[in-house]
Symmetry: C2
Subunit: 249 residues, 2 copies
């Protein structure tokens, strides 16, 4: 049964350690780090941030922040990283604070994965989270390129929340793409099992990052990050920066 | 919320490419290759095979087969590998054929993963499939060691059937182990979504290996390999060989 379809392919990589299994030279790669990097990126851009510069290390974050007179932000293991001004919560970036500003951001998993995709030669890189799920999904249908949904996971271990987001996107896109990928189908299956109440599913299953964040009193962040379309923008990576795309819905 | 429990840990690795994230020096590693290596291993041992020697390569399979005057078997990409006598279907190994014999087996993913776990210093290696799910689960509860459920996947890409089996084992063991691992919880979630009819779930989702095997007319194999306890033995790896353990139920 050879595949005979004119649809583009869609794959899901559940961990950065699996990224190298996929040829992404002609693909849009969607970086997914629901708790909380890509939720915060969407929120900051929606609230008027001029640009977000994702960097790998805290040192680099401080260096570029000084150089550009920008806001430095980021977390390590779920907490504000030492030496940086702000953390990784969408609630830290209301319009009154972030509008017109440049944010230099480093996170445990999301920004690292973005740089892996860049080095591996991704045709195009965008970021996705429930906060901007419709903007991302509509763009992927429109763009006509193959897609890789790339979960940031946690230090290479698969995680529930990024997989749920991949599943939610697969649910929206499954009629538009050729999905010959068990990772995508597993994500969809998990999403179907969880979709009645994503927060409750995360709580009942005591997802590892759910535990980490609730230990810091961040239930509010988790609920917000699992809510659809709170920040309907399309963050696109261009010349070292994430900016709000003109392809917005 | 530090974990305070006397239970042993249970982790699930969804792909051989993720195996190195886990310390297995004191763990029982369960090698999972439902379609079809570990189903066939359980079946051959249940039907009286003396021992099964898993080897990485077809050449090694032929060499050891000659040396031991044993049956050579294995597949590459779902078909009998060239130069070998038999394939990877449980139906090829009835008691009348296999009883008392030695089988040298090489498969695309399962035997490779077993050797990875060996090299990485696993405390103990067993193999699991729906064919022997209760024997495996009961042994894991009894043994008192930490557990890693290790999916063979397909050329490092996660697959549905091995994940479903991991989920089925997690469902049986979840009250006996400390499961602080999203991979295990994702497997359980997927299993819950699929458990009414695993074959139908594989078919509806057109799991990639389901497609490969049905192209070879192997629906019967798939159904058999998704059935519980058709071969209730515990295959354990000792000194280069898989044998039927005395710890059998």
């Amino acid at each position: 049964m050879p595949h005979t379809t004119n649809k583009q392919s869609l794959y899901t990589s559940l961990s950065p350690a699996l990224l190298n299994l996929y040829d992404i030279s002609s693909s849009v790669v969607v970086i997914i780090d629901v708790l909380r990097a890509t939720s915060t990126i969407a929120t900051a851009l929606f609230n008027g941030a001029k640009e977000i510069i994702p960097v790998d290390s805290v040192d680099e974050c401080i260096r570029i922040g000084k150089q550009m007179n920008a806001i430095t932000a980021g977390e390590r293991d779920g907490k504000v990283a030492e030496g940086l001004q702000y953390g990784n919560s969408p609630f830290e970036y209301p319009e009154s604070f972030i509008s017109g500003k440049t944010l230099v951001l480093t996170t445990t998993n999301g920004t690292k994965l973005l740089h892996m995709a860049l080095v591996k030669g991704a045709n195009e890189i965008i970021t996705g989270a429930f906060a901007n799920i419709d903007a991302v999904s509509e763009y992927l249908v429109k763009t006509g390129k193959p897609v890789l949904l790339a979960c940031a996971a946690w230090k290479d271990r698969v995680n529930i929340e990024d997989t749920l987001f991949a599943g939610a996107v697969v649910e929206k896109l499954k009629d538009h793409f050729d999905i010959n990928c068990d990772g995508s189908k597993m994500a969809l299956g998990l999403y179907k099992e969880a979709q009645k109440d994503l927060y409750e599913f995360m709580k009942t299953n005591q997802a590892t990052h759910f535990q980490r964040l609730t230990n810091f009193g961040l239930e509010k962040d988790i609920k917000h990050c699992l809510t659809n379309n709170t920040a309907p923008v399309l963050p696109i990576y261009q010349q070292g920066k994430l900016i709000r795309s003109n392809n917005n819905i």
